[in-house]
Symmetry: C2
Subunit: 522 residues, 2 copies
């Protein structure tokens, strides 16, 4: 197909044979770019046979004339071969760019404007520069509830949605930030054991040592297609699936790609709520861990965020309750996919840490009470203690292709281990969440599922000089040594002779060995 | 050279053979990226023999394992061949990223922080995402005078500077936005004819139909190296050179690359003033065109901007005066490189439009008065009318390799022409600067030097039905037709029976055929 326009030009295709990270980018020589009136980052429309796409131009000084360098993303959409001829013309700037500028200049955006931005994000019509500018403007100008609602709706509408044909649908989400939080592995079986439907999708770790999907993958397959999820939910009332490949609110994954290098997270609310809406949730409990070292530091901030979640849920047709939870230390003792899966399984089998049990039953209990059950937490506890939740998890594992008879000891953890011991008698006064997470990552988690950290003490526990504070698990000696040396420099557990007596928490200036990492987990 | 660190990996080089627009980008497969703990947009340090550079990673799903895809920018700096082995390890995030985040969160930046950002911009350690975020944050948060000063100094210090070994150095700059502004071609010879030194560097058009460098290039060579500039200035007390290849304040060119797609210009002041400082200017006159269709719309805004220029100049050790000029219509009659060069030459030879003469002599006159001359404008007029300025321009043309005897008629303009005529009797009430600029660009300017627009009437001129309002010049029938059809839809000149009697200027909603273009010229 050609264009009926004056300003178009024929180019010969040169396949570059590499990906551009999902972006539809083409390379063009500067001379012909100039003839077309095209600068780097401008958009062109490319026509080949019946296909017609918008791509972003990378102008190169030293590129063969009248040749169009084509990355894999463009090749697969145009279905074009090397040497073939395509028609190229300048494309209009997307209308959404005007709304991004409006946001830069402080205007509130309307629903249709936000929809157009999100559509152009998903269709890849916006460059990294434009996307980064939008996310930065959102971060500085903020979003009001109308904008958050419009963003959520647009993110749902530009992706897949699920309808299980039976209701109500329950869901649970944590805003994250606390290592070792395997509560989902307990909440889902407890809730579904009570007969409710909870089709849980989770993410993998981005900056943490384990995401829920990484933990579950130790027990069974998590990479399920939509039809497989439907079948598992049909059979068990639940699922524990990875959400990444389901195309639920796909705009979010593209926003994350620019939020991550900038370490800003202005889309937290619409990002989470759009994924809940896309899966068809009716009742949602959201866990907001609070404290030094968590994402939210104060009770006041957590309450403000909770009110926003509840209001945004109401507008999107979901009933939301929030749980503000203690986030000053890891949940349970295990950090790292395999260690956490083992701890979760043991807990469902009757032997688990008090904090994990309390958190999981509290969250499940809130969902039960939202469904009209009295004493929700008590009911959750009964389902846990009676073994019904364990039985349900094994059903889910079987439905997702795992071994339903798996025992905690069957789960392999790294065989290179080291103990980090206390240098004094006393008790543990604080645990640095982020330092623990970094050490577990240095040991190889989440890529090495068997790697991680196992705490031997938690806050308030007594310890004698030479007693283990925590253990590091790794697959190789090299990674173990790297994690040990990081542990020695970060000193993630602070001890005092008596709890609360050591007042100096940090000294500035000090040798900052590792910058505070940005936590981007949803 | 290798690294003494645990976390590094050997890769085999694969040369991609294409440029990445100046950015040091490498491509890596997702599996090894993950092992290195690298996400897309993260930075790595690459070591090969004695070379060692920082590059930005593009993670590709389908790229050969343990292979490093290398763009031309990285190849030329590493001096590496295909198949050779390089060492790769994660690089620390640049410290400047923290200051970019500080700016996002509304902090004022200190001098050393700004210096670090600008250094990382020039060294290409920041990705497009980070650069776009910084420029967006500057646009929203604004810069105070301390920051503008620090930005200017950092931009000077990260580039070349010129020292002519004789003083004082005079300079002239327009913030741009008005088509047909060839005043520089008169101001420079007038000022140097008086014995003052004015080594003028100019830019090419980015979004306009002609930059000063494009106009001069019709008469002589503008692409001079630093040594050539020195020789021309030695001989003539002046030069008319293109600044683009001189590496004066190179950060600015990189900022422009993200400002252009976003249509924001938060670095206007430091950008202009750093270039003046780099060339060693002591006395500077800055032209601020004002009016509907110019960059600055009101006298109040122009005064505020002028005060900032003066104060920033003072801090940088330059004396600055500003001229607020009438910017509601093009300067003179000619728009487009060749048409404008011809008009400027004719004007120096004694036959030129009143507004161009008035503007050029006013600006030169201000510089004269800054140097202690009484009645500066009168002196400028004398130098113009006596032919001394013409003689000086011909000296400069000769020194820059052009024909010193060139006559206006020697300058070729496009031989495909069309007249756009008035549809009624009356007088011209307004001229839309941006529409005129777009029509000239559509006709081929600035790439086709001979293309452009020649006005036949200006504001207030009487016109009869069928009289020419303006002519379009193009090199090809195709471009001429495109420009005619754009002219017909934009109607860039408004006529009324009597000036001021036609009150309706625009109707909304109306068919918006062409969006208002963003003017980015410095």
């Amino acid at each position: 197909m050609g264009f009926q326009d004056a300003k178009n030009m024929k180019f010969k295709v040169k396949l570059l044979g590499i990906e551009a990270g999902g972006k539809p980018i083409i390379v063009m020589d500067d001379e012909n770019a100039s003839l077309l009136g095209i600068h780097s980052s401008d958009r062109v429309e490319i026509a080949y046979k019946k296909e017609n796409i918008i791509a972003i131009v990378n102008v190169a000084g030293d590129f063969p004339k009248k040749t169009l360098g084509i990355y894999e993303e463009v090749r697969t959409r145009l279905k074009v071969q090397s040497g073939e001829e395509v028609n190229v013309r300048p494309a209009e700037r997307p209308e959404s760019l005007r709304y991004i500028r409006d946001k830069i200049f402080g205007q509130r955006l309307q629903g249709p404007e936000i929809k157009m931005i999100v559509m152009d994000v998903v269709e890849r019509h916006l460059s990294d520069v434009e996307l980064a500018s939008f996310v930065t403007a959102l971060s500085i100008r903020g979003t009001n509830m109308d904008e958050a609602e419009a963003l959520s709706r647009a993110m749902v509408e530009t992706g897949q949605t699920l309808d299980f044909g039976k209701g109500p649908i329950l869901d649970k989400h944590s805003i994250g930030g606390v290592p070792g939080d395997k509560a989902t592995l307990l909440v889902v079986p407890i809730v579904s054991a009570a007969g409710f439907t909870i089709p849980k999708t989770s993410s993998r770790a981005i900056t943490s040592p384990a995401g829920t999907a990484d933990r579950i993958e130790v027990l069974c397959n998590v990479d399920l297609a939509l039809e497989e999820i439907r079948a598992v939910v049909e059979k068990t009332n639940a699922c524990l699936a990875w959400g990444g490949a389901l195309d639920l609110a796909p705009a979010d994954d593209l926003f994350i790609q620019v939020e991550y290098p900038l370490s800003i997270d202005p889309l937290l609310l619409p990002s989470i709520m759009s994924k809940k809406k896309a899966i068809g949730a009716d009742y949602v409990v959201i866990d907001i861990p609070v404290g030094r070292g968590a994402k939210i530091q104060t009770i006041e901030d957590s309450q403000a965020l909770a009110r926003d979640f509840i209001e945004l849920g109401r507008r999107l047709g979901m009933q939301v309750h929030c749980a503000v939870t203690f986030g000053e230390q890891p949940i349970g003792y295990a950090i790292g996919p395999a260690l956490e899966a083992r701890e979760a399984l043991s807990t469902l089998m009757g032997e688990g840490p008090v904090d994990l049990i309390d958190k999981a039953t509290s969250l499940a209990g809130i969902l039960f009470e939202m469904m009209g059950v009295n004493s929700g937490k008590q009911k959750a506890n009964e389902l846990l203690r009676s073994g019904k939740a364990e039985k349900k998890l094994r059903e889910i594992i079987a439905a997702q292709g795992g071994d339903p008879n798996i025992k905690p000891d069957d789960i392999k953890t790294g065989d290179k281990t080291a103990k980090i011991v206390s240098e004094e008698d006393g008790s543990v006064q604080l645990i640095n969440n982020r330092a623990i997470a970094q050490i577990a990552r240095e040991a190889g988690a989440p890529k090495d599922k068997a790697a991680g950290v196992l705490l031997r003490r938690k806050i308030g526990d007594e310890v004698a000089k030479g007693d283990a504070l925590f253990e590091i698990y790794a697959k190789s000696k090299q990674k173990l040594d790297a994690a040990i040396s990081l542990a020695e420099s970060l000193k993630p557990m602070g001890t005092a002779q008596r709890f609360g007596e050591k007042m100096l928490m940090d000294r500035i200036p000090t040798t900052i060995l590792h910058e505070k990492p940005f936590v981007l987990e949803r």
